[in-house]
Amino acid sequence: MNSEQQYIELFGQCEAMICKHSAEVLNAPRTKAFADFKQQGFPTRKVEDYKYTDVSKLFAPDYGLNLNRLDIPVNPYDAFRCDVPNMSTALYFVVNDSFYKGDKGQVDKQARNGTVCSPSTRQLVNSSAGNGVLMGSLKEMAEQYPELVAKYYGKLADTSKDAVVALNTMLAQDGVFLYVPRNVIVEKPIQLVNILRADVNFMVNRRVLIILEEGAQVRLLACDHTMDNVDFLSTQVVEVYVGERAVFDFYELEESHTSTVRFSHLYVKQEADSNVLLNGMTLTNGITRNTTQVTLAGEQAEINLCGMAIADKEQHVDNHTFIDHAVPNCRSNELYKYVLDERATGAFAGLVLVRPDAQHTSSQQTNRNLCATREARMYTQPQLEIYADDVKCSHGATVGQLDESALFYMRQRGISEKEARLLLMFAFVNEVIDTIRLDALRDRLHYLVEKRFRGEIGKCQGCTMCK
């Protein structure tokens, strides 16, 4: 049986159940998504975009799904206690694909302690109540604000171009919705802790929709964790609309375990004068494929797209990025760095497209990689397609080893070889960490990365700011 077949049968048998436990807005595109999925099938490795990640094989095993939306017992507050109070965030949990509402008493207590925000999910986020910011379950928001959600849902994530996106659109029942109205500045960073929790091998299809109206500003940190020692397969589709002059910082941190497979698709559309920072960091994982597509649709928009991966054992990290300079006078800066140890593999493919009208584009793409062993493999493919003649674009990629002369220099000063290697590896990825525009998060990442390199993150114990 093909890998596709079990999903086709699943949808055929369970479509009614899937729809029943979701919202109308999310149900609307399922039929088309199903047709697109059947028509495409999973990409083989002959498909250029998925050359380094074998999709079909990863979707082949039999995973459980929670289509009936049964409650899975979990208390994330126990698992993720806040003991780094340096940065106060509005903290939310998503268990698998469900927005966690939790035990009211406990959550209220935490809210009073200032470690989490008001629990009841609807209108919160900011201290100034009534600013119209919405943060909560996508399903519930889609029921309550169908017109708002329908206007944006599924418009960027094209199901006819990617089978995994089609599959997610077919099956996703819930997820996260964030809406920041015009000119509202959300002061407190929002932290979203995604927890994978199951007693059997499990598949999760999560959907995220983020809307920043013109002049809005928000900073979001999402971190992925696995709580149980079973196999997880997660698909995630995130759509982000950034209005004129809006500012959006999005940090994604993966700290999952080695038997987690993650497929993430992040779509961002930016209007004029908007400024977006995306930083995707893979600290621990199993197999990860992140697809990021950014469309610069309004002039003077700026995207800073960064990422890093630290991988060892048999970990695999594949980042696929596409920046579309659709209009003139936009800027894009892209920086990805990988440190691969043991038998880890990494892949990076980055396309920057400068369309014929996009004069005065400024674009820079850099991918640098360290392979610490002979067995580690890095595949990198920077690509630049320019159809305008008055632009400033550059790209570069390197794969190398640690600088031997720097290692020796440090050893001559009495620093052990092991410590010297660690210092050089920190230094290498620090460039990516230093792009973080939140001081407390940046400091925390320095700490986490150091622990990671020292092999002290054996088990996921929490996330960036709540450990």
């Binding site: 600088d403 720097a406 020796f408 220099y409 000063r413 009495g414 620093i415 052990s416 210092l423 230094a427």
Partner: protein
Amino acid sequence: MDKYKTDSKEQMQAGHSTPLPWEGQGEGAGDSTVLIEIKDLHASINGKEILKGINLTIREGEVHALMGQNGAGKSTLSNVLVGHPAYEVTKGSVTFNGKDLLAMSPEERAHEGIFLSFQHPVEIPGVSMVNFMRTAVNEQRKYKGLPALSASEFLKLMREKRAIVELDGKLANRSVNEGFSGGEKKRNEIFQMAMLEPTFAILDETDSGLDVDALRIVAEGFNKLRTPQTSAMVITHYQRLLDYLKPDIVHVLLNGRIVKTGGPDLAQEIESRGFDWIKKEVNE
């Protein structure tokens, strides 16, 4: 000048009636302790033999100058002494404080008190000077069984030592050597020496690329750091650094061997006459 002439195979054993300071290299000569003793040292890089039998003894408190043309093996000797992995010792021995130096890793040699001021200090982007030095100082303290310095103790120490070479505080906050001028890099080497307080310092062309003022600051900085126990091997092409450092003994290295050893006036003679006359003397 005959009395300075040494046979490369039996150097420093010439029997003069009046012992000269640079001749006190044999058993029992001099009162001070032998710090480093190099015997018949041969070393190669990529299979090519560069050092062809070096014999050299340095005592506590002595400053030796090592001169010679490019390619003579001066930097190779310093690299071999600090344990650079690219060089292979094929023959000979080096004892340091009575211990077998060649058996030690580069970091152990550093902990034992050997410091090399690099001819070309390495830039290490992303590693801050503070972090780098704190790691180095604390690893050395660990080796000596001392507790690590606290952050404030360490910063105080940095401030004190920085003043010795007039190193700008801003540089200390930057990545190691990154974007430093040639002079700043050399000053930074002496600053690191001040932090680590070695007993044996090798200055490999520390004067190259320095203007007159920077040379004075670096050399005076080095002199301030000297104690009666500090020894040094100074590699240079020029007299002006030696004017500050006042070496006790001057060696000339030619084709992988020490072919001539003398007092400070040997360096002055080389400054005015070059090396050709020495080559003729030893028929090379």
